[in-house]
Each structure stands twice: as structure tokens, then as C-alpha cells.
């Protein structure tokens, strides 16, 4: 069975005292890497849907105007 390697929280946070910075900076980079690559596509998708909704709205308004114009008697 694996056993816990640290006897206290502070020992864990400093990773036993030496190379604290090395170990935690790698895990920090890993966290940034994971969260960026999961969040970025979600933001792109949100942006896409916003743009497409705006476009659909504009197209609908445009076709409404056109149909009004064609209803008007021309002569």
C-alpha cells in the first residue's frame, strides 16, 4: 500500500524544503496548461454563437425591410 510521504501540511507545501520552487512551478504550469486548453475552446464557441445570432437577427431584419418595400405600390 502506498504511504503518505509528508508528516505535516507545511512539509508538503515546501516539498521537504529543497527544490520547492522547481516542483511547484511544474505543477503550476500543468494547471495553466490544462485549464487554458479546456477554457479556450469554450470561449471560441461562445463567441461563434454570439456572432451567428447577431447575423441571423440582421438577416431577418433585412428580409423584413425588403418584404415591406416590395409590398409598397411602385407606381
Amino acid at each position: 500500500m502506498p504511504t503518505l510521504q509528508f508528516s505535516s501540511v507545511s512539509e508538503f507545501l515546501t516539498m521537504g524544503g529543497s527544490y520547492t520552487f522547481h516542483i511547484w512551478s511544474v505543477y503550476l504550469l500543468f494547471a495553466i496548461f490544462i485549464s487554458y486548453n479546456l477554457m479556450q475552446p469554450k470561449l471560441v464557441r461562445r463567441q461563434f454563437i454570439r456572432e451567428q445570432k447577431r447575423r441571423a437577427l440582421r438577416d431577418a431584419e433585412l428580409s423584413l425591410q425588403q418584404s415591406k418595400q416590395s409590398e409598397r405600390p411602385t407606381s
Binding site: 510521504q5 516539498m15 522547481h22 500543468f30 486548453n37 475552446p41 464557441r45 461563434f48 451567428q52 445570432k53
Partner: protein, 249 residues
């Protein structure tokens, strides 16, 4: 088989299928990442040479090994694009390039941080490190090439060719530690019959982390490919319906 192949090539079919897969993949990834990280950070015994910095291995090795899978995947997708002109393959090829650049970048960064401790230097012009740096530049090159060519079809072809040619670098990276005398150590993770076999306390969490990062890779690739599908099929009725159904304002 051919029916399945042509169905898989349909972006809409992929989009709908991946909608069903994603929740399961997310659940799998969070469970495995949770177990893997807790195990790697709290339970792996300190190495007699490296001490606590052995914990860096549980990020570096999965990321570096999967970064090597990205390029062949891009080359295969490029081949399918060139031979069968399958639209989905090019979408995958386009999506995998930035992910590959991220994986390679993190492999280099975590390796440099680790190297500073075990070798006493952040960087050396060693065969493994240099060939991995070349892979990073190749990914950046593929991304730049695609954005530089205006016509999507021409860009797809050019990127496919660069991906296929660039894939030659992958075996060089993989075997660099055996072909040349490198500072970087050869892979030594799972050996049962060697003189000094690695105990399961070391490699079981590593395997869990590798699988977790693979699932993460799959998720991020699927997410980016889905965006690419939406973007390219935005005038198709099914995408317009999807946008109209979306609750987001």
C-alpha cells in the same frame, strides 16, 4: 467498413457523436487526474537520487510522450486529407497543431525545470532536447503556414505536406536517447526483469497520469474540432438550428 468510414468523415455526424462522448470523457479525466495528482504529489516515495523532484516526472513524462503522438496524428490526418479529401481530417489536422505546440512547450519547460535540478543546467544542446525544440518550431510553423495561405483548400494541402515531411522528426526524438550519447536519460519506466526493476509505487501512478493526460488530449482535440466544424459549416441548416436553439444570449 466503408460506410462507417464515410460516416465518420461527415462533420455533422462527428459533432453529434462527440456530444454524447464528452460528458463521459470529462468524468474519466477528472477522476484519473484527481487520483494521479494526489498519488504523485503525496504518496510516491522520494527517489534516492532525485529526492522529491521525482514528482516532476508525473507531469513531464505524460506530456512529453503525448507530444510525440500529436505529430503522427497530424501526419495521418494530412494523408487522409490529401488522398481522400475528407473534410473532417483537415479539421482534426488544424485542431491538433496548437495542442501539439502546447504539449511540446510544456514538455520543454518542465524538462528544463527538472534539468536545472538533476543536471545543474536548464538547457543543453543535447540530441533529445534539440529535436524536441525542432518539433515545437514545426508546430508553430504549421500554424503560421495555415494562417498565411488565404485559400482554405490550398492551406490544407500545404499543411498536410508539412505535417507528413515533419513527421520524420518523431522517430529522431524517440530514439535520440539511444542513437546518441545524450544528457537526457533513456526511458526506464516499466521494466519487470531488469537488474533494478522499478517498483509499482513508482510506475502505477505514472500510468494513471499518462492515461489521464491522454483523455485530456482527446477532450481538447474534440473541443477544438467541434469549433472548427461549426465555423466551416456555419451556413448549413443544422448549425443554424443549433445556434437558434442555444440559450446563450
Amino acid at each position: 467498413m466503408w460506410l462507417w468510414f464515410s460516416k465518420l468523415g461527415s462533420p455533422r455526424w462527428f459533432y453529434e457523436l462527440s456530444s454524447k462522448w464528452l460528458p463521459w470523457l470529462y468524468a474519466l479525466m477528472f477522476v484519473m487526474l484527481g487520483v494521479g495528482l494526489v498519488w504523485a504529489l503525496l504518496f510516491v516515495p522520494a527517489d534516492y537520487q532525485q529526492g522529491q523532484t521525482i514528482r516532476i516526472m508525473y507531469v513531464h513524462v505524460p506530456v512529453a510522450s503525448i507530444s510525440l503522438a500529436c505529430f503522427p496524428l497530424m501526419a495521418i490526418a494530412g494523408t487522409i486529407t490529401l488522398v481522400w479529401k475528407m473534410k473532417l481530417a483537415d479539421m482534426v489536422a488544424k485542431s491538433v497543431a496548437p495542442i501539439g505546440a502546447w504539449f511540446t512547450g510544456l514538455a520543454l519547460a518542465s524538462g528544463a525545470i527538472w534539468g536545472d535540478q538533476i543536471w545543474g543546467t536548464w538547457w543543453a544542446w543535447d540530441a533529445r532536447l534539440t529535436s524536441l525544440l525542432i518539433q515545437f518550431f514545426l508546430f508553430v510553423g504549421v500554424i503560421a503556414l495555415r494562417s498565411a495561405i488565404e485559400s482554405p483548400d490550398a492551406a490544407a494541402k500545404a499543411c498536410a505536406v508539412l505535417a507528413i515531411v515533419g513527421a520524420i522528426n518523431v522517430p529522431i526524438i524517440k530514439y535520440s536517447v539511444e542513437w546518441w550519447n545524450t544528457l537526457h536519460q533513456p526511458a526506464s519506466s516499466i521494466s519487470f526483469d531488469a537488474v533494478a526493476p522499478n517498483p509499482p509505487e513508482i510506475w502505477v501512478p505514472l500510468v494513471i497520469m499518462i492515461l489521464a493526460v491522454y483523455v485530456f488530449f482527446a477532450i481538447s482535440l474534440i473541443l477544438r474540432t467541434r469549433n472548427e466544424i461549426l465555423q466551416r459549416e456555419r451556413r448549413a441548416q443544422w448549425v443554424m438550428d443549433l445556434v437558434a436553439r442555444d440559450q446563450q444570449k
